[in-house]
């Protein structure tokens, strides 16, 4: 059996508050396993313990009890982080560096071999779609560009596990869709991705499995489809039925012992609708420009 990317066993984290040392329990008896080459979503409201869990996985916090391993190594060891890339929420970087310098800097921090640095930097900058802006200073980047260059720095040392904390927070839907596509590409390349997000619609279409935390406790864990599907119902999407045909279908359902629970028009999600419209306008704009150039 393959070693899981992340293995958390009975993890509890208490924070001491104030002079009297009162304890605040941020994570309670958490057990979680993230398999290799999986996109795993860590979901939960603010204060549910997502960030604390991520910090423990990254070795930035020590667990009060329990243990956490990354590919079989205790996460508190610096050595365990050699195979991990991390994008923090709302990342802030040295503003005076260009995007390329920044990624190069982190490549050197991660001890990427000198002979490989240029190729590694170019490759991740291309992957996140920042080639054109790579030589601009980070201080001039928009929020979406910061997220992308943040993603590039997290990938430059070719980690096997990538942890993304709210990767699309504050990013417009187009930027979010681009980041989601990068995440899918990482999975195609065999990486494991752990992401925490509040944008549930996006997580739903992206993650293989999710865990829902509430007040530090694991509430649900499983495949997205398994969690959200209505197990005792099925939907038939039909087109071109007139009223008589529909009445006949309803009668047949009744005759077969079924019950018509509801009739509704299939809907696109607002996200998908927005992206479809913007994409259509973009194509129109480009076609129009090409037409003007030909004239």
């Amino acid at each position: 059996m393959a070693t899981p990317a992340i293995c958390i066993r009975n993890l509890t984290k208490d924070f001491a508050i104030g002079m009297r040392g009162l304890k605040l329990r941020a994570v309670e008896d958490l057990c979680l396993e993230v398999g290799d080459n999986e996109i795993f979503g860590l979901l939960g409201p603010n204060g549910s313990g997502k960030s604390t869990t991520i910090k423990i996985i990254l070795g930035l916090l020590e667990a009060s009890t329990g243990n956490c391993e990354i590919y079989g190594k205790p996460s508190k060891l610096v050595d365990a982080r050699r195979r991990v890339g991390f994008l923090p929420e709302s990342p802030y970087f040295y503003r005076y560096l260009t995007g390329r310098e920044l990624v190069r800097y982190y490549a050197r921090i991660c001890m990427v071999a000198r002979a490989e640095i240029d190729a590694a930097v170019d490759s991740v900058i291309k992957l996140v779609g920042m080639t054109e802006a790579a030589d601009r200073r980070v201080g001039t980047y928009s929020k979406g560009m910061l997220q992308r260059i943040g993603l590039a720095q997290s990938l430059v040392h070719d980690p096997q596990l990538v942890i993304l904390d709210e990767p699309t927070a504050g990013v417009d839907p187009l930027g979010s869709a681009a980041i989601a596509e990068i995440v899918r590409e990482l999975k195609r390349r065999g990486k494991t991705i752990l992401l925490s997000s509040h944008l549930l619609a996006q997580v739903e279409g992206l993650c293989d499995r999710v865990a829902i935390l509430h007040r530090g406790k694991l509430v649900r864990e499983g495949r997205v489809d398994d969690l959200v599907e209505e197990k005792d119902a099925e939907s038939l999407v039909v087109q071109g039925l007139n009223a008589e045909a529909r009445a006949a279908v309803e009668a047949e359902i009744k005759a077969q012992g079924g019950r018509l629970a509801r009739v509704e028009k299939p809907k696109l999600s607002l996200d998908a609708y927005f992206l479809k419209e913007v994409h259509r306008r973009e194509i129109e704009h480009v076609t129009q420009q090409e037409g003007e150039e030909e004239l």
Partner: protein, 280 residues
């Protein structure tokens, strides 16, 4: 832990810390004020000190170096540390395979490098002014004042600068130590200034200790004298520069350097003990 890799990471962190520091307006302002103050000492020539003028300029310059250097060392180190915490660049950095001790050492060396620049600039400006006034004085009073080629031993001006730089190293290290458990800039700066005053006046405790009878009070004073470094040891400006007979032995300079290095390393290691448990 690969030592070569470790040194590379420390060098990289120190480099960015230094770059962040020299880009701060505060550093540039303080540097300009210090240069202006050292240069202004020449305006006191109207009092006609004779050769005493050079002593006055030297004392004035050394005073400015210590005063502004201490302020810069405390505030710059505090700001560099808390910038990393508040902007969460430390989070990105420490999520990489970087030891917390490497991070702290990089921060310390970056701040120390900044102080080296500051000390060098002030020392060069001071030496330039001293040289100019020395030439003027020699022209006015004649060459009979010369004992061994010049009135001032310029090497000692730089030696004094070096010792002050070692002292700034201790200051930067204990600022990091305070910052490692503190939550705010203000707290760190206030506590560090108090520590600076204690270290500056530490000789009083040592004097008291030598006059005390054996007992727990004597042990307490001895303990305090060991915990807080004695900054008076670094103030040997009077023995340097002018007085050939009183000039300290090379071994003394090495001892003071070692003393400074010991306390700097000790404070960085103590900072690491706190920082290890700190939530980033």
């Amino acid at each position: 832990m690969n030592i070569t890799d470790s040194f590379t990471r420390i060098r990289l962190i120190a480099g960015t810390t230094f770059l962040e520091a020299v880009r701060q307006k505060f550093f540039n302002s303080l540097l300009l004020i210090s240069i202006a103050l050292v240069a202004s000492s020449t305006f006191f020539q109207q009092f006609d000190f004779g050769t005493g003028e050079l002593k006055f300029i030297t004392d004035f310059g050394f005073g400015a170096l210590f005063f502004f250097g201490s302020i810069l060392s405390i505030t710059a180190t505090t700001q560099l540390f808390f910038n990393e915490m508040e902007n969460r660049t430390a989070l990105t950095m420490l999520a990489k395979p970087v030891y917390k001790l490497e991070f702290l050492t990089g921060k310390f060396l970056g701040a120390h490098l900044l102080m080296l620049c500051f000390t060098l600039v002030i020392t060069v400006v001071l030496s330039g002014i001293l040289y100019w006034r020395e030439m003027v004085l020699l022209e006015r009073l004649g060459n009979e004042l010369l004992s061994n080629g010049s009135l001032i031993r310029y090497g000692d001006v730089f030696l004094f600068g070096f010792l002050q730089w070692m002292k700034f190293g201790i200051i930067a290290a204990f600022v990091l130590f305070v910052a490692s458990f503190s939550n705010t800039n203000l707290y760190t700066i206030v506590v560090s200034f108090f520590m600076l005053i204690i270290c500056q006046l530490q000789y009083i405790a040592r004097d008291t200790y030598s006059g005390m009878e054996a007992g727990w009070e004597r042990i307490l004073v001895l303990g305090l004298g060991l915990i807080f470094p004695n900054f008076q040891l670094f103030n040997i400006g009077d023995q340097l520069v002018f007085d050939v007979e009183k000039a300290p032995a090379v071994s003394t300079v090495f001892q003071i350097t070692g003393y400074g290095a010991f306390y700097s390393i000790a404070f960085v290691l103590l900072a690491q003990v706190n920082f290890r448990r700190r939530e980033i």
